[in-house]
């Protein structure tokens, strides 16, 4: 299958600012890859390099073995969905979707047939003759998608396409986009700053920060085995406990740490706290115990957000459901303990 992308050592500077600092990435045919990072991380720059709107200072991007960087945008044969949708207001829905086919000199009847088919795929066939101005945000989103895929491009690029939609519609569209991807099998590169969206949709996620690729992995590997504190913090709900490292021995608040993975760093480590992986009663088997004092317990409906004071005086916010944890409802001033079992212990490095 076509649609294999090889990005090698792509560098892009704006003055002294390194927007992309030697990024290398392989995307397999048919894969759904998300570029995830905070704003200003370089993820959109990388997408624009793929699209041909930004010319990198150095590096190489190959598609199916052919150098891509020297091709102008209109010869790259990729479909792009913009955050603002960028539908053409002077054309009807059908004309918008037919536009890329018209550029490819497809016969008139064939254009209409294929445009209608693409609209059917995104469930917009019944609105083909509408004006763009008469569509809602979600409908525009679908039309933009139909237009980007109607000419069967080798790659689909999407730049935060759902960020303008409200939460319910966004979650609904995430699932639809994923289903559509499974159905069409087009290599897709998706940009978002929403980690949950990335986890929901992607085969693999490339976490980008400060213009560099921090980690490129499947959603579950990223969540369970983050390479550093940045990734752990960015993906999912997380808190961190300071781990002392002295001559290869790890201690947490003076107690030796039990961990499945060996630690190779030398000065400081962080133990990752994921609320759903904590035990609020002592588990069987080896575990790391933390004693804390409840500073504040905030009711949040399905759970409480506990603001805990740690033995070293630091604080940490942890979500806790007293019902499933089988403990009394916590209140300010309570002494409370939690455990992280050996298998759930994840240590990362990184700045505080």
């Amino acid at each position: 299958m076509d649609g294999q992308v090889a990005i090698r050592e792509v560098q892009k500077n704006y003055g002294s600012f390194k927007a992309l600092d030697g990024v290398s990435l392989d995307i397999e045919p048919g894969e759904f890859v998300t570029l995830l990072g905070p704003s200003g991380s370089g993820k959109t720059t990388l997408l624009n390099v793929l699209a041909g709107f930004t010319r990198p200072d150095s590096g190489s991007v190959k598609m199916d073995g052919v150098e891509f960087l020297t091709l102008p945008p209109h010869k790259r044969d990729l479909g792009m969905v913009f955050q603002s949708y960028a539908l053409f207001p002077h054309m009807s829905v059908l004309k918008n979707v037919g536009y890329p086919l018209k550029l490819r000199k497809v016969a008139k009847g064939e254009i209409d047939r294929r445009a209608r088919a693409a609209l059917d795929v995104v469930k917009m066939g019944h609105l083909a003759d509408r004006d763009i101005g008469a569509l809602s945000g979600g409908q525009r989103q679908r039309v933009a998608l139909a237009r980007a895929m109607v000419f069967e491009p080798k790659i689909l690029l999407m730049d935060e396409p759902l960020s303008a939609l409200d939460k319910n519609l966004r979650e609904h569209m995430q699932i639809e986009l994923k289903r559509l991807h499974d159905q069409l099998g087009t290599t897709t590169v998706y940009v978002t700053h929403d980690q949950r969206e990335a986890l929901t949709m992607s085969d693999r996620i490339a976490v980008i920060n400060n213009g560099t690729l921090v980690q490129y992995d499947t959603p579950s590997r990223l969540y369970d085995h983050p390479v550093n504190r940045f990734v752990a913090e960015f993906i999912g709900e997380s808190g961190f406990l300071p781990v002392e490292v002295r001559e290869g021995r790890l201690t947490l608040f003076g107690e030796p740490v039990v961990s499945r993975d060996p630690w190779r760093g030398d000065t400081r480590a962080w133990m990752l706290v994921r609320p759903e992986k904590l035990a609020w009663r002592e588990p069987e088997g080896p575990a790391n115990r933390v004693d804390a004092t409840v500073c504040e317990a905030i009711y949040q409906g399905d759970s409480f957000l506990l603001d805990l004071v740690l033995p070293d005086g630091g604080t940490i916010d942890v979500r806790c459901n007293p019902h499933t944890a089988n403990i009394a409802i916590p209140s300010s001033g309570d002494k409370i303990s939690f455990w992280i079992s050996r298998d759930n212990t994840v240590l990362v490095e990184g700045e505080a």
Binding site: A51, G52, F53, P72, P73, H74, R76, D77, L78, G79, M80, F82, S84, A86, F88, P89, H90, Y99, P100, L103, R104, R147, A148, F151, L157
Partner: protein
């Protein structure tokens, strides 16, 4: 707005009388000089007079029956029409280029293109005269077209530049990504969306050339005399109401044109 206030703070027509008075005065000062020539043009007298003591169409006949006047009108059209096309094309291209690029060079070139609007016309006229004297193109249609294009360019640049500020540049990018070359993207996506601005730029360009008299005084002469230049000489030399008849015709054409333009625009919106 009501004649009797509904609440204590409601502003009534009576409260606004001062505003209506100001608006009326401004309108009078702006419009009357433009349309004063209309009654004057129907005068039967040998001289411009207001109000006309006797009505007639003799000055309209004088204009339409005079090969010199019609020749001058024809010259003006032969100049203004090419100026409209050239200035609109160049000005739109320049506006598009300047809109997409930033930096000192582009800021500088924008100021450079705007110069004809800022430099006193009389200086431009003298400058053009000297340059054309060197080139030997004084008194030619081509020379007039070139000079008027220079004068019209800033107007197109401003009109199209304004239109582009409300154009979503993603539209252009998405069209590129869907397979359109730079050129095709401009003509299929950008131009249709800024056409009103381009059209108003073209109207400005036409009017700039058609109305221009100062530069024409220097570089148009003899058989290539423009209408405005001939009107200017006529007023200076003899002041007969032919110019009033011509002006009235021009005012009517402009009003009809504006109404058509507004109707067209309304249909778009």
């Amino acid at each position: 707005m009501l004649n009797t206030p509904v609440t204590e703070t409601q502003i009534t027509h009576a409260n606004r009388l001062w505003l209506y008075a100001v608006v009326t005065l401004v309108t009078i000062f702006l419009v009357v000089p433009c349309i004063l020539v209309v009654p004057m043009s129907f005068s039967a007298s040998e001289y411009l007079e207001f109000p006309p003591s006797e009505l007639s169409l003799r000055w309209y006949r004088a204009f339409l029956g005079s090969p010199e006047w019609l020749g001058a009108l024809w010259t003006s059209i032969k100049v203004a029409v090419p100026v409209t096309f050239i200035a609109t094309a160049l000005g739109t291209a320049a506006a598009w280029g300047l809109h997409r690029r930033f930096g000192l060079l582009f800021t500088l070139s924008r100021s450079l293109y705007m110069l004809p609007m800022l430099v006193p016309l009389i200086l431009i006229a003298v400058g053009v005269f000297f340059v054309y004297a060197r080139l030997g193109i004084n008194g030619t249609i081509g020379g007039l077209i070139a000079a008027h294009t220079m004068l019209a360019l800033p107007f197109v640049l401003i009109a199209v530049g304004n239109g582009l500020t409300s154009f979503d540049m993603n539209q252009h990018q998405v069209s590129r990504s869907l397979g359109a070359s730079e050129f095709v993207a401009f003509f299929t996506v950008t131009l249709p969306q800024i056409r009103i601005s381009v059209l108003s730029g073209a109207v400005f360009a036409f009017v700039t050339s058609f109305d221009e008299v100062v530069v024409a005084l220097y570089i148009s002469s003899g058989k290539n005399e423009t209408l405005t230049r001939r009107m200017f000489s006529n007023i200076r030399d003899q002041v007969d109401p032919t110019v009033a008849a011509i002006s009235s015709l021009l005012v009517s054409v402009v009003i009809i044109g504006m109404v058509l333009f507004l109707l067209l625009r309304k249909e778009e919106a």
